[in-house]
């Protein structure tokens, strides 16, 4: 064997890289494993702020609660039904978009943007204004048209919760299933056609079975989000006396004179464990479905199915869906922001028409503070999250050692985090630090909880940059960090802006972490909306809600304008 200096030269690069990864792992672990462990320790502790003395009392107290079996049953029905609804609708829409000649396909591009723009708490609020059993606008209209004296529809019910949560998760299932349909090798179907199968048989025996992993993945993702759902169950479930686990936990920490965080943690640990199992199952499943795709390098052109006479009815069905998902709730919010309480359009509404709600929310000191805090959290939080994601995504996609695989798993863990429960974990984590009760506590919790939403898109951005571009930087004499700064970062910048926009919009609409962690002085808009809704001030809910939507839309638009300008300068 030839001995020589090469070993000496590679050694320092190896250790600096390892140090870099170890530093990332400790930061990410602190933000993800940290609160989860604190939640577990907290559940065995007597009081908030001190770990120990060790006790089972909280578990005994909470798991012997006679209300719990009913709550668990509700949770199961709510989560499974809303996920099934979202999966069926999302898959149908994906199929119509990718595989059929349905007109007006541009409309489907709106779908991924909806969850960025429309906070769940406002969606629920708008539907309460439409479908509450006493003066919901649609109910009033239905009573005028049909001979019924009360109702007829009641949003304050398990069915109402399922309907709203299902609709809200449609974009998620759509975004999982649609790419799988695009990536589908049409030859797999054509082989069945030439083997003598009719179109219906092909869909049933080849297409659907092959898409099963993607559809199952979409369903599991919806289940994970359903377990974490808080806005809808709190807004429409609580008035209808339908409790699920998240609202049960919220009640333990928010109602009464002495919130019992130990009890909340004891329930939360169970939900978190379930979510973690689901998330890692989901991950295994999607890895499997990636293996399913047979890459041939031929340009895929999915066979377009002619809908024939069903074309226009289906198109109007899709239009109706978008109307119900976006336009109707948005219109109701605008309309209601000028009224003191829910009144159907008509002379009476015209009489009551005023800008009172707008004047109120802009003069309410708490609402103004909430606005300021929300802007800080969105801008600073998204920036911090993107910076951290940039390093993590780079390490995970580029360096690829056992350590980066660990880093990947740690990051992925946050997908499981129900905001409300991990918020309680952060509570324990931060309660003895000066951060507690400040907006910075919220910022840390946001970054930890939503890290994968930054790492994922940036990871695929890195994936698209050919390794040679980077290697040539090293060959030309730049250091590892120099190459990262001068070559990798500029190339990945457009992707970073997209991730920033996504995270900023998520931080504006964030409710469940904030519901636990926000304290007087660190209020945010979403929690303020929840408070107005609790007091039945629907006009103020609407006005403040429109401010929220305006804020997140501005941030998203600003980021995409900047991104476009930068990428033009780049190429």
């Amino acid at each position: 064997m030839v001995q020589g200096p090469p070993l000496l030269r590679t050694r320092p690069a190896f250790t600096s890289k390892t140090l870099f990864i170890l530093a990332l792992i400790s930061v990410v672990a602190a933000l993800t494993v940290g609160p989860a462990v604190m939640l577990l320790l907290g559940s065995f502790s007597q009081r908030l702020g001190r770990i120990g003395p060790f006790t089972f009392a909280k578990y005994v107290a909470v798991y012997t609660d006679p209300a719990l079996p009913k709550i668990i049953a509700n949770t199961c029905i709510f989560v499974l039904s809303s996920s099934a609804l979202a999966t069926i609708v999302g898959t149908t829409l994906a199929f119509l978009n990718v595989r059929t000649d349905i007109p007006g396909k541009g409309i489907f591009q709106v779908l991924p943007l909806v969850p960025m723009m429309f906070p769940h708490v406002l969606f629920a609020a708008a539907w309460i204004m439409l479908l509450n059993p006493s003066n919901g606008l649609l109910n009033v209209w239905l009573r005028a048209v049909f001979p019924v004296s009360s109702g007829p529809l009641n949003i304050y019910s398990l069915a109402g919760m399922i309907f709203l949560e299902g609709l809200l998760d449609v974009p998620v299932t759509f975004m999982v299933v649609a790419p799988a349909m695009f990536a589908f090798d049409p030859a797999l179907e054509e082989a069945a056609r030439v083997s003598g199968a009719r179109l219906g048989q092909v869909l049933r025996r080849v297409t659907l079975p092959l898409l099963r992993p993607a559809i199952l993945a979409a369903f599991m993702l919806a289940v994970i989000r359903g377990l974490a759902a808080f806005a809808v169950p709190q807004m429409v479930g609580i008035p209808g006396r339908v409790q699920i686990l998240t609202t049960y936990i919220y009640r333990i920490v928010s109602i009464g004179w002495s919130p019992d965080y130990g009890k909340a943690a004891a329930v939360g640990v169970f939900v978190l464990a379930l979510a973690l199992i689901l998330v890692y199952l989901y991950r295994a499943l999607t890895a499997e479905s990636e293996r399913f795709v047979t890459v041939t390098g031929k340009g895929y052109r999915p066979q377009v199915i002619r809908l024939g006479r069903a074309r226009w009815p289906l198109f109007f069905g899709v239009l109706l869906f978008f109307f119900v998902l976006v336009l109707l709730p948005l219109g109701v919010l605008v309309y209601m922001s000028f009224l003191p309480y829910v009144v159907s359009p008509g002379p009476k509404a015209w009489e009551l028409f005023s800008v009172g709600n707008w004047v109120y929310v802009f003069n309410d000191p708490i609402a103004s503070r909430a606005l300021k805090n929300t802007v800080i959290l969105a801008v600073a939080g998204a920036t911090a999250a993107v910076l951290l994601s940039l390093f993590v995504a780079y390490a995970v996609t580029r360096i690829r050692t056992g350590l980066t695989a660990l880093l990947d798993s740690l990051t992925f863990m946050s997908y499981a985090f129900p905001g409300l429960i991990i918020g309680i974990g952060f509570m324990w984590f931060l309660v003895r630090t000066p951060l507690y009760g400040t907006v910075w506590a919220l910022l840390l919790a946001y970054v930890g909880t939503y890290l994968p939403y930054g790492v994922r898109p940036l990871g695929s951005a890195f994936f698209q940059i050919h390794k040679d571009l980077e290697d040539s930087g090293r060959v030309c004499g730049a250091t590892f960090l120099g190459t990262f700064r001068k070559i990798v970062v500029p190339l990945v910048t457009p992707g970073a802006f997209s991730a920033w926009a996504l995270l900023a919009a998520m931080f504006v609409r964030e409710l469940s972490v904030a519901a636990v962690l926000a304290r007087p002085g660190s209020e945010v808009l979403s929690v303020q909306v929840l408070k107005y809704a609790y007091d039945g001030l629907w006009g103020r809910v609407s006005a403040l809600g429109i401010v929220m939507i305006f804020l997140s839309s501005t941030l998203v638009a600003g980021a995409s304008i900047l991104r476009r300008r930068l990428s033009r300068g780049l190429y």
Partner: protein, 361 residues
């Protein structure tokens, strides 16, 4: 069963341009023969094959399987692919990853609702034919490229179709396996005696597999013939160039010799050649000579010059020779009969008049 297409056209339109994938193609594939569609990518060969399969709809023309018209714009006939009675092997093989080998091959029979016993029997027979007996319960995802290709072939054959269609079936195999499979496939098709249409962009593959080749370019069939006819006697410049390596030499037609060869006067000397048409005296023409037609012994035309470069590729020496008038020709010489040429060597290349072809102009 013979397959005939007449005046088939197909235009692909995008927002910015339209491409004539098929420009009035007429073609007859005789019963029991293997016909290759050969051409560069984008020439329309795959579109033609997919139109025959019914996976693509042309704009006008007619497609006939034996006596039965399966597609006709005028008559408003469009038999869907599943009723055309074809077998097809796809470029990506299109082996369904959610089924076992057995289920993949059994699929066409299950659609026909045959009895279990018959399905079992025919699938085993088909798998035996492609030498995959014992692989029945293997998941389709755990097959090598060559095995997937065989499963695809078994699936295409199992329902005893009257026409077999191949869409570049060997292009995803590695070079060595591809060459071995060429032999197998040729023997297989000969034995089966089935009508087969075979799309490829690989000239060697087309030459090896087919009874006849149709060369396509820009949506048209530009030549048609047996492999040997096309290789040595193509007189269309595109076909001559596409189907093999070629030297094109410019010269002037100087009349016919007594033994019936054309005399072409080039600036390095005069060549005796074969011409398929008459030319006026003094007409500028192009002569095609295949690199492997050159030898160092024997008689015929003599081209002398200096070796510019010589490489040894295993099967042969490839030698570039600069002739007196600076024209460079490529010659392939058998390494067993020639000592290694070196740059600067003077060579007298010989080529018999039969292998010198005057191209159509």
């Amino acid at each position: 069963m013979e397959v005939e297409v007449t005046h088939l056209t197909k235009v692909f339109r995008t927002k910015t341009e339209s491409v004539r994938a098929l420009d009035g193609v007429s073609l007859l594939c005789p019963s029991g023969k293997v016909l290759s569609l050969l051409g560069p990518s984008g020439c329309g060969k795959t579109t033609l094959l997919r139109s025959i399969a019914g996976l693509e709809e042309p704009d006008s023309g007619e497609i006939r399987f034996g006596e039965r018209v399966v597609w006709s714009k005028e008559k408003g006939i469009n038999v869907p692919p599943e009723q055309r009675g074809i077998g097809m092997v796809f470029q990506s093989y299109a082996i369904w990853p959610h089924m076992t080998v057995f289920e993949n091959v059994a699929f066409p029979l299950r659609i026909k609702k045959l009895s279990r016993a018959e399905i079992e029997c025919r699938v085993r027979a088909a798998l035996a034919m492609v030498q995959l007996s014992g692989f029945e319960n293997r998941p389709a995802t755990r097959l090598s490229g060559g095995q997937q290709q065989r499963v695809a072939l078994a699936r295409a054959l199992v329902s005893e179709p009257r026409v077999l269609l191949f869409d570049e079936p060997l292009s995803n195999l590695d070079a060595k396996l591809r060459e071995a499979t060429r032999h197998e496939l040729r023997a297989f098709l000969l034995e089966l005696g089935i009508t087969a249409i075979y799309v490829t962009h690989d000239r060697a593959e087309a030459l090896a597999i087919s009874d006849e080749i149709a060369v396509m370019n820009m949506g048209k069939i530009v030549a048609r013939g047996t492999p040997k006819e096309l290789y040595f006697f193509a007189d269309d410049p595109f076909v001559a160039d596409f189907i093999g390596r070629a030297n094109f030499l410019k010269g002037i037609f100087a009349g016919l010799t007594q033994d019936g060869f054309a005399e072409i006067r080039c600036s390095f000397g005069t060549l005796k050649c074969v011409a398929s048409q008459d030319f006026p005296l003094g007409r500028e023409v192009t002569v095609l000579i295949r690199p492997e037609s050159f030898t160092l012994e024997g008689e015929g035309n003599v081209l002398s010059g200096k070796v510019v470069s010589a490489i040894f590729t295993g099967e042969r020496y490839e030698v570039q020779v600069r002739l007196d008038d600076e024209t460079v020709v490529l010659a392939e010489l058998e390494p067993t009969t020639v000592s290694a040429p070196k740059p600067g060597d003077l060579l007298k290349l010989k080529v018999r008049p039969q292998w010198c072809r005057v191209l159509r102009s």
